[in-house]
Structure formats: structure tokens, C-alpha cells
Symmetry: C2
Subunit: 271 residues, 2 copies
């Protein structure tokens, strides 16, 4: 499969990279469709915010150009971009002259069952809780052991995703998706100031909601809020929107606002 | 510098390694002295505990043999062992047949100023707080962005280490050291059940304390407990023990129990 390091074809990276040593970096998982990347601007915006927070001096124009060239070559599939702080000496201190490393890897778009989008998915109740770390909240950084542990909790394919709460019990997100509720016609989104990944599709749906006059609110949300919701949905920038059809003993029909957002996501991804 | 991947000389690893993608692995930083590794048993014990917690199926006998051979070749310095879950497909789920990867890298022992051990060090007061994640607490895993951010808070060489508290304000550890207090002749150690790394030298000092009848207690400790302490010290398995001579406005002389533990650590490391 196509892979680049710093713009050149490569399949390996130096053992001295701080991405390996400390997870000292960021990533983006981008859908590639017809040689182009939907939502590229939002991906780059999140990457820039992450690089600023971690003080990784990234040349964003270079990253953008590289992503466009890579996507044109790939045509269809998924491009995963990893940006690390680059090589390091032993020790946590950043080298005075660190040079960020850009890694691009292509893969095929996962083939999810069509029922996920049509009838919705059931959510597994993960025991793994997300720690509350405001300094890293919202970023798609490389410290992802919580997600690895959460995803290892279930094998049953009846659950397409798992629900993650934080250590205080608030609902936050799926393992690889953002979570949205609909209550009384208002879109409710978990606050991601303490933990969680601020997804690109989530941002795109909120932009669309503003344009279409759909009310939304970001808030601290509990499992009770979830069970009380009229509609529940998941989103990410690869599959778009999946309705949630069940969690624990609660079942939901696929609601009208979910279908509307799903159509919006479909248009964003397929053009 | 000497480096191995899976027992063979190598300086690179595949881009598909989950250590890079998610920090999905563990590490140990081992002092090598006269071709041998002091505290090897304790290092292997912590590694085994981590591998079990992360469900990484590691052949520990193989790791031990490889470490011994590597140390004999290196002679003097530091051996850094990284163990990752191995290669992965895209996505957090572990591949059904993951094969852990072992990475060994040699470096020189850092040359700290001799005053650190003799007169002690000043502690920087880090703003970065450690998130509370009991599932990962104690492990030396590869998700170390908190340490990277904390270490980036100061450049002033007057501070040899920084003090990290958790998000609830308890004192936990240094950025690359464990922290110990002495109050009324009793050794007090921060509880590492919610966050922090359970250091190998910390474990060795507790064993020695038991043997020598030194009373110790693990507890939730506050900054007030620290400021009230009679002696404060740091330890790790590279430098042994450093007295703490100052934090904020508080200064400490180097106390007798600190000197005793420092001598024990010296013997453990130098034989």
C-alpha cells in the first residue's frame, strides 16, 4: 500500500522518532474520494490546533500540498496522516531543533455492513472510562491506549461501536465516533473540554445545522440524558452518520433529524 | 549507536507498528553497568505487569535473554526497551494474531551535575496535571504526552526536575522520577493507583526499607504534606537518589534518611 515519510515513498521510520517513544504527535484519518479529500479544511484546522497546543512547528501549507498529491494518487480509500515531533534524544525534553516528521499511509475504506447506516447500530457499554485531561481534550493525538483498551472489551459484531464515559460518568463519545443526541428537536453534543476527540464530521454537522436553522447545544450529558433522548446518532469522517438503534435495554427508531444529518454527511463525503 | 528490533540490528521500524499509531506498548529504561543490568528483576516484573494489563502476549524469557545479551555488548550506558503490540490494521481493535515487537536502543548515561546528588535539586512547580486513569496507573506505557508537556514548561537549568500533581491536586511524582517524603522518620510515598509511574528504584528502595526496618506508608499526599516534610527526595533507576533542596519558597537541608537511601541506591546501581 502507498505510504510516504516526509513526502517520499517509505515504509519504515527511525527508531528515534518521538511518535514511537512517547506518542508525541497527532493524526488525521481522511476519506479519499475521486482523488480528493472531503472536509480537508476542517481536518487541517484541527491539525493546526493540535500542533499549536503541543508546540509542534508544522508547515501546514506543505502538509496540505502533500495530502492533495497523495489523495490524487490514491484515488479512493483512506489516507492516514501522522505528524510527530520528529527525532529525539532520550528524555522528555524536546530537542532544541526538532524537525516534525510527516507520515502518510493509504488503506482501503472499511466495508461496514449497509445496515449500520440504514437501520442503525447497537452501542456496547464500555467499562473503560476516559480520564479528564483538559490540556489534551479535543485533540486527535497519538496517546490512544484508552481507545485500544475500550475496543478490546467486546468482540461481538452485534455491537458496531462502544459508548465511552469519562471518569465522572458523563457520556463523551464512541471509541471511533462522536455521539449526538436529539431531545425535543434540539441536537445535544457532549462537551469535549475535559476529554474526547473533537471530530471533523461533528464540526461539519454543526456548521450545517447552523445553515439549516437546526438548534444545537454543547453540554455535560449523562447516561440518563442518553436514555431519555428521542434520537441518538454517531458520526465520523469515514462513514458519515450512523443511527443508534439500541443501548442497554433502550431501543430507538431512526428519527427524522438523524436522517437529515445523515443526508448532509453523505453529501459532504460524496459531493 | 547500538539498536535492535526483535533481536536483530536495525535502526528503523515499519510504519504499521501500533506503538507509533496509538502508543500501544510499554517501555523500560535500564542502566547498564559493567555489561550487566542492575534491578533487572524489578524491571521485568513491571514489564510483565504492564503486558498483562494491556494484554500484550510477551515472551518474557526471550526479553530477558535479549536484554542480557544487549547489556553485555553495550558494557556501560542506558538500554531503552520498547515493547509494542506489533503491527496493526487501521483501527483500534487488536489484530487477532498480533505479534509483539521488541525494540532496544542504547545511549550514554546522562551526565548530570554532581551537585544534584550532593547538594540536591530544586523542583519546578509544573502546571500540567496528571489525569486520573486507574486502568493505566503505575505502568510505564508509551502514552507520555503529559510528561512531554510538563517537561516543556521550564528551560531554566536551576530546576533539575518538576513536580507533577494530579487533576485533584495530590502530589504524584517528578517528570522522570518518583517522589518520597520523610515525616517524623517515616517514609511517605504518593499513591500511584490513579496515575503516575511505579518506578523500579522506588520498588527497590521499599524492599531495602523493609530489610532495614525503615517505616514507610503509601498515601494520598498534598502539597501541604510536601511543604511540611522533614526531607524530600527523588529517585529513578538511572541516577539513584537525589535530595530535593527546594520547592517554591521552602528549602530543605539534606537529611539523614535521604543519605541512607542514596547510599542504598548507589550500591544497587554500582554493585
Amino acid at each position: 500500500m502507498l505510504s510516504w515519510v516526509d513526502g517520499q515513498p517509505a515504509s519504515q521510520l527511525p527508531l528515534t522518532d518521538r511518535g514511537l517513544a512517547y506518542g508525541d504527535g497527532l493524526f488525521e484519518t481522511l476519506r479519499v474520494s475521486g482523488g480528493r479529500i472531503p472536509l480537508l479544511t476542517l481536518h487541517l484546522r484541527r491539525l493546526a490546533a493540535g500542533a499549536q497546543r503541543l508546540a509542534i512547528g508544522l508547515d501546514l501549507a506543505q502538509v496540505e500540498e502533500e495530502l492533495r498529491t497523495f489523495a490524487a494518487l490514491l484515488g479512493q480509500g483512506v489516507a492516514k496522516l501522522i505528524v510527530t515531533r520528529g527525532d529525539g534524544l532520550r528524555g522528555y525534553a524536546s530537542p532544541a531543533e526538532s524537525r516534525p516528521r510527516r507520515i502518510l499511509q493509504a488503506s482501503a475504506l472499511p466495508q461496514w455492513p449497509s445496515q449500520h447506516a440504514e437501520q442503525g447500530v447497537r452501542l456496547f457499554a464500555c467499562q473503560t472510562r476516559l480520564a479528564e485531561q483538559p490540556l489534551l481534550a479535543g485533540l486527535k493525538h497519538l496517546n490512544r491506549l484508552e481507545q485500544v483498551m475500550a475496543r478490546a472489551e467486546w468482540q461481538d459484531p452485534a455491537f458496531a461501536e462502544g459508548l465511552l464515559c469519562d471518569t465522572s460518568g458523563r457520556i463523551i463519545e464512541g471509541v471511533f465516533s462522536n455521539l449526538l443526541l436529539v431531545s425535543d428537536g434540539v441536537l445535544l453534543l457532549p462537551d469535549l473540554q475535559r476529554c474526547g476527540v473533537a471530530g471533523v464530521m461533528r464540526a461539519a454537522l454543526l456548521q450545517a445545522a447552523d445553515e439549516q436553522g437546526i438548534a444545537w447545544r454543547i453540554d455535560d450529558l449523562s447516561v440518563e440524558d442518553l436514555l431519555r433522548a428521542d434520537e441518538v446518532l454517531l458520526c465520523n469522517s469515514l462513514y458519515g452518520v450512523w443511527p443508534v438503534q439500541g443501548y442497554l435495554q433502550r431501543d430507538w427508531p431512526v428519527g427524522p433529524l438523524t436522517r437529515k444529518l445523515q443526508a448532509i454527511a453523505h453529501t459532504l463525503l460524496e459531493g
